[in-house]
């Protein structure tokens, strides 16, 4: 009997302790949630107010007008169809090419053992470490020189294909790394039996490995899409015609030379962020698995 009571007391004590701990954690998480949500909420809040009112009464004034006028204005000034089309023209080919080439290299370095396969993998991964700002001048000069040599000045420079190529080059390192880690988790026996059955290297790649890679490719595609979609830098330095640039630079159109209407800009930012948000919510599962991709094997 007394043991029972004691046990019960211990259990209650433990439960209370756990409750306090839980409360602490909830509080902690709550604070972080607020810190994370605040900028987004503030952006949305700002986007609903006219700049004229903020200018006259200050940032923290009580609003007299709350409406969607900034959105209407932003949509008309950003020329959304043009810029979204430009973004698609860059993002879609870039993502597919990255995945295609990345999976090819990953396939070779992880499935076949030859002298330089690890060094090759390292080389591609190391490419990731070079900051874009460091290499953009040589890349730019290369594009110009190539265009001049061929007689078509806009062959790569000021052309969406030039931007696609540079994205492929830059993202391929990461894609190779992730895909090769993933391929290493696929049992060697599958490859061996394929080879025993007389599959050529190409069949081995297309018929055996690619189908198995599908989850990795899907999550990588989501990550790549977000990254390339969000790029502003390459399109800025490798293109001279603004109307060819992607949606990220359309945001600049809301910025005046001297006057920046931050309320309008907030509305524009919300609009520009929408597609990535939609992609994220549709492919949430792949995204989360994408974040941990390759973290267990490497």
């Amino acid at each position: 009997m007394s043991i029972d009571v004691e046990l019960q007391a211990a259990a209650t004590k433990y439960r209370n302790k756990q409750k306090i701990k839980d409360r602490f954690i909830s509080l902690f998480i709550g604070i972080f949630a607020v810190v994370w949500i605040f900028p987004i909420a503030w952006t949305i809040w700002s986007s609903l107010r006219p700049y004229k009112e903020v200018r006259a009464n200050g940032l923290f004034s009580v609003p007299k007008v709350l409406n969607l006028a900034n959105y209407a204005d932003a949509i008309s000034r950003m020329e959304l169809p043009t810029y979204f089309f430009n973004t698609a023209l860059i993002t879609i080919p870039a993502v597919f090419l990255t995945l295609f080439f990345g999976s090819l290299i990953a396939f070779v370095v992880s499935r076949y053992s030859f002298k330089w396969n690890v060094s090759l993998l390292l080389l591609f991964t190391a490419g990731n470490l070079l900051p874009a700002q460091l290499v953009f001048i040589p890349v730019f000069k290369m594009y110009i020189t190539l265009g001049k040599a061929v007689g078509i000045p806009r062959l790569l420079y000021d052309s969406p294909w030039g931007v696609v190529l540079i994205h492929v080059a830059f993202q391929m390192g990461f894609a190779t790394f992730v895909l090769s880690s993933y391929m290493k988790t696929v049992p060697k026996e599958i490859s061996e039996s394929a080879m025993v059955d007389g599959a050529t290297v190409f069949t081995h790649y297309t018929k055996v490995m690619l189908p198995l890679l599908r989850p990795a490719l899907a999550s990588l595609a989501v990550l790549m899409t977000t990254w390339i979609y969000n790029d502003f830098f390459w399109a800025l330095v490798l293109m001279s015609t603004d109307s060819k640039r992607p949606i990220t630079s359309a945001l600049g159109r809301l910025q005046g030379e001297f006057v920046t209407d931050y309320n309008l800009l907030a509305a524009g930012a919300v609009i520009a962020a929408l597609p990535t948000l939609i992609v994220f919510f549709i492919l949430r599962k792949q995204f989360v698995s994408g974040l941990t991709l390759g973290s267990t094997k490497g």
């Binding site: 600049g252 159109r253 001297f258 006057v259």
Partner: protein, 438 residues
């Protein structure tokens, strides 16, 4: 879908390579053919996406096309992006004519051979401009590379109604003592005397410019920015000493406000005066006509009687022709039209979306100044009083010095004015460490 796209990519790249391999000469002659007949279709790069200036430029382009029949492709880029990318833009595949600024910023690119010599254009339209504009359009080699469009002065802006309340008038704030007295009076009334913002790093350069010009004169200022004088000179320290006297009258959050934050203080009648370029008047006009009518400008007060109020920062905006463009002669022809009174008139006649005229102070002598509104007339008076025109610090010195070095140096001075000796040492050291111009 993707495979189709990939296919196009690979094929067109290959095709491009093949065409190039076959006929570099053909490509070359094609370009030459474009340029030789003098006019023809051209591309124009606008350095703005703002509604007012866009309406003006589109009107200019339309008038040019109507007159000559030459089609003009209009490419607009947001001003900061355009500016940051100009070097690549000019080396790559630039538009034939583009919007740019006078002074050092133009000379910098002219020296690198990226701009087209416009001496012939100036021979035709030069008589329509005062000499100071021609000087501002001239490169270091004595040739012209720039056609001016418009200008605006930097000066002390205030609200007429507030000045009247304080018992002040434009002629009672002419020298440093009167100026400090004015600021004192404002402070006693609980106002910010000298509204300032320097979050952007460039705003306070205007204050440095005018103090240096007032204390040490135009020549020293220009020589300092060109590297012919030293930042460690006692004269420069004197500028900061004067500047420090203004700090008690500034809003305390100078480094948290961009220029428009400072402007809001003036608009909301929380500040009595602000040193700024008159371009911001458009904001007052947008707020209400009453606010715009209340806005006024006077020259920065005299400090050193030797120099009086002989210098003003008045950046000139205008156009250049890119040497790497496809149609240099077409670009020059377009600029001749833009600089001629006919083109200027087309810009002046442009209306904004509400059908109102857009204020512009043209560099062309032909603009009828009697049509100026009151604020524009005051700007002209500020301009007329000055013998010397400077372009603003970030246009008068090397681009790799103004933004990356002077801007942060002034910001760190605001944080701790006592560090001034260290700051001027750094400025000089950084100038000395700059690579020679290519």
């Amino acid at each position: 879908m993707s495979e189709v796209k990939n296919g196009i990519s690979r094929r067109s790249v290959l095709k491009g390579a093949a065409v190039g391999g076959l006929g570099i000469a053909a490509g070359g002659s094609l370009l030459a053919g474009c340029g030789s007949d003098g006019t023809g279709a051209l591309a124009f790069g606008a350095r703005t996406v703002d509604a007012g200036p866009t309406a003006q430029l589109k009107a200019l382009v339309a008038a040019y096309t109507a007159k000559t029949g030459n089609e003009v492709t209009y490419n607009a880029t947001e001003s900061n992006a355009f500016q940051n990318n100009l070097s690549q833009y000019l080396q790559g595949t630039p538009d034939d004519a583009f919007q740019w600024m006078a002074g050092y910023r133009m000379q910098f690119f002219a020296e690198q051979g990226l701009l087209v010599d416009l001496t012939d254009v100036w021979n035709e339209i030069g008589s329509q401009y005062a000499d100071s504009y021609k000087t501002a359009a001239t490169g270091l080699d004595g040739k012209q590379y720039f056609v001016p469009q418009s200008w605006y002065p930097w000066g002390m802006h205030f609200r007429k109604s507030m000045f009247a309340d304080l018992g002040l008038s434009a002629d009672t704030v002419t020298n440093w003592d009167e100026f400090l007295k004015m600021l004192d009076g404002m402070k006693k009334k609980g106002l910010v005397g000298f509204a300032a913002g320097d979050k952007g790093g460039w705003e306070a350069m205007g204050t440095f410019d005018i103090l240096n010009a007032r204390i040490n004169g135009y020549q020293f200022h220009v020589d300092l920015l060109a590297g012919r004088e030293k930042w460690t000179d006692a004269k420069v320290l004197d500028v900061f000493t004067h500047w420090e006297q203004l700090i008690p009258y500034m809003n305390p959050n100078v480094l948290d406000l961009e220029w428009d934050g400072a402007m809001q203080l003036l608009l909301q009648k929380k500040a009595g005066s602000m040193l700024m370029g008159s371009w911001f008047g458009g904001n007052f006009k947008e707020q209400s006509e009453a606010d715009y009518a209340d806005l006024s400008i006077i020259p920065f007060p005299e400090i050193n009687p030797e120099f009086g109020r002989d210098t003003v920062d008045a950046p000139i905006d205008g156009f250049c022709v890119a040497a790497n463009g496809a149609n240099n002669a077409g670009g020059a022809d377009f600029l001749k039209f833009a600089g001629d009174m006919e083109g200027v008139q087309a810009m002046l006649d442009a209306k904004d979306a509400d059908g109102k005229s857009i204020p512009m102070t043209s560099a062309n002598k032909g603009q009828d100044t009697s049509t100026y509104d009151a604020f524009q007339k005051e700007q002209l008076a500020v301009m007329d009083e000055a013998t010397y025109i400077t372009q603003f610090l970030d246009r008068d010195t090397r681009p790799d010095f103004a933004g990356p070095v002077v801007g942060p140096a002034i910001q760190s001075w605001f944080k701790n004015p006592k560090d001034v000796n260290k700051i001027v040492d750094t400025l000089q050291a950084q100038w000395d460490a700059l690579p020679p111009l290519a």
